[in-house]
Subunit: 116 residues, 2 copies
DNA sequence: CTGTATCCGGCACGATACTG
DNA sequence: CAGTATCGTGCCGGATACAG
């Protein structure tokens, strides 16, 4: 994705651009998509998204959290346990994510369009 | 958007990522969105997208064309006239674009998008 | 397990000037 | 009008090491 605009920018008068600014970043949409299925732990996300590094995963998760799209829950345990899930706002992105998935399946004709 | 992955990458097994790779770039989605309304000329797009430079507009348009999302028609006239419009594949993105617009309007609107 | 800290390269993008 | 050409750069994102 584009780096889109740095921070939400109302001047453009285009809500699409503002929406884009929240989901820019190389992994955000994929993260959100994975979370559609339900709560996931840090390493679970890591495994589900091949190629992402700890740094980027952490960074993108933090941004998503800051934008109120996901919820981060930390359990004070000896082996740390952190769970990520979609916030209400994040869940409202479902139509977009599914539309994107559907489009990808339809127009990129991947025979293995396995439901990730 | 993220720079996504450079070129379509099948290995991830996620059609969403492949779809994303086609719409990465800072202005692509906005361009596509503007073209939903119909054919537009180069400078018309330029005016509709404040902040975009000639270079970037040209570049993004070329990528969109290469990915088969838009159609570029050149009229051999003395004042050059180039028209851009969505291809069939591009038009198939309409649900995604509208979903994104709807989400933006709903969640980023002037009033708080509380949506508990 | 779930992160932070640091270093660093590349390319995405911008600014400007020029052209058919 | 609709682009190229060229140059410069921010910062995104990868690699690696360290930490609670």
């Amino acid at each position: 994705m584009p780096r889109a605009v740095k921070k939400a920018q109302t001047s453009t008068g285009c809500s699409v651009e503002r929406a884009l600014s929240l989901i820019d970043g190389k992994w955000k949409i994929v993260i959100l998509y994975k979370l559609l299925r339900g709560t996931l732990r840090f390493n679970e996300l890591r495994r589900l998204i091949p190629g992402v590094t700890q740094r980027m995963l952490t960074h993108q998760l933090r941004e998503l959290e800051a934008d109120g799209l996901i919820v981060r829950v930390v359990y004070a345990q000896v082996p740390p346990r952190v769970e990520y899930s979609l916030s209400t706002r994040g869940q409202s992105l479902e139509p977009v994510l599914l539309a994107l998935k559907h489009w990808g399946d339809t127009n990129l004709s991947s025979r293995e369009a396995e439901a990730a």
